[in-house]
């Protein structure tokens, strides 16, 4: 079983600006992207979200949990 990585979107507001988990992860598990894209306009920071894309590469080292300033992250090893 893959580890579970939960991100509380209510606590993680502007992930692209914060970027702590994205840059701390030794396995580069996370990705951040805007939820909408408009013509002639940049997306506001609130319309970004982070996801644990490469969950299968997660080694449950907890570095992301430790660096998250809003305690939005929860990581658990997968059961067998």
């Amino acid at each position: 079983m893959l580890p579970t990585i939960e991100i509380d979107k209510k606590k993680c507001i502007t992930p692209f600006e914060c970027k702590k988990c994205l840059q701390a992860c030794p396995q580069a598990v996370f990705a951040v992207a805007p939820t909408k894209v408009d013509r002639f306009k940049e997306t506001e920071p609130e319309y970004y979200e982070v996801e644990a894309v490469f969950r299968d590469k997660c080694v449950v080292c907890m570095d992301c949990v430790k660096v998250c300033p809003t305690h939005a992250l929860q990581v658990q090893a997968g059961g067998s």
Binding site: M1, L2, P15, F16, K19, L22, Q23, Q27, A28, F30, A31, V32, A33, P34, T35, K36, V37, D38, R39, F40, K41, E42, T43, E49, E51, A52, V53, F54, R55, D56, K57, G78
Partner: protein, 276 residues
């Protein structure tokens, strides 16, 4: 022979055929995509396409099926490793060329290459680049149009620092970008190496080979290889390139202070000439 060359090369390597840089091709891809811009798909690909795929890993059958589908879709956006020499030829064909922010690094490491805080690494090609202001989110940090000579210097600069050069098709065979890639930031290298999705990044037309006599065992080539193809033989203190794993990017060629590594043509190696 490389299937892409056969289909789109007209006698040369497919990415050296000027027709594959032409605007009509670009327009053809854009048609019917006015409401749902391709650009949104492109930026959100890791979230919308790749994440659900990897979530299926606990269900091997469903995962395999989804991977097959994904591989088919990816054929519309084929990537291939190119040598510095070939990339310079591409620079002579493509007009215009603009330095842009690397969208992969932005997605996976939340970096922003705006030319001020971080140098721009990626290159956007073709008339589509003139429309960059229409999609400022895609071309975040702006674009910098550069000359052919500047493009060649750009390629040299990053390649000599260890980046793999790749040609990227946006609606195969339209070549819309030359990327400067490394693991794990580059989605193409990653999807090929970790998940075996071939069309994301095909191997190049050449392969690296070491002249053992020239190797002094410094290990720089092994350190720089993005594909895990180079090991140091401990007892002889020589570098060993596994040519079946080599993607032919040429990073090791420039890493070697002794000029002991060279690129040879894939088509001259019978067991590897159909390996892409």
């Amino acid at each position: 022979m490389c299937q892409l060359c056969e289909k789109y090369g007209e006698g040369d390597r497919w990415y050296l055929n000027p027709k594959n840089y032409a605007r009509p091709l670009y327009k053809k891809v854009e048609k019917g995509r006015e409401k749902e811009p391709m650009i949104l798909d492109e930026i959100r690909a890791p979230l919308n396409m790749i994440k659900p795929l990897i979530d299926l890993k606990d269900k091997p059958e469903a995962y395999e099926k989804a991977m097959e589908e994904f591989t088919k879709v990816q054929e519309r956006m084929i990537g291939q490793v190119v040598s510095l020499e070939d990339a310079k030829k591409m620079a002579e064909i493509a007009q215009p060329v603009a330095r842009i922010d690397c969208i992969c690094r932005r997605a996976f490491r939340a970096t922003l290459e705006d030319g001020e805080h971080r140098p721009r690494s990626c290159l956007g090609l073709g008339t589509g680049m003139f429309r960059w202001e229409e999609w400022p989110e895609r071309y975040k940090g702006g674009v910098e149009f550069i000359s052919t000579e500047e493009t060649k210097k750009h390629l040299e600069h990053w390649h000599k620092r260890g980046m793999v050069i790749t040609s990227m098709a946006f609606g195969t065979p339209f070549i819309g970008g030359i990327c400067l890639c490394d693991y794990p930031d580059c989605i193409a290298i990653r999807m090929r190496m970790d998940y075996g999705v071939k069309p994301f990044l095909l191997k190049g037309h050449q392969i690296a080979k070491v002249k053992y006599d020239g190797c002094i065992g410094c290990g720089t080539c092994a350190q720089r290889c993005q594909f895990g193809a180079i090991k140091m033989e401990v007892t002889t203190n020589k570098s060993n390139i596994d040519m079946t794993r080599c993607f032919g990017c040429g990073v090791c060629v420039y890493a070697c202070s002794q000029e002991a590594i060279s690129l040879i043509d894939r088509e001259n190696l019978p067991s590897l000439k159909e390996e892409w």
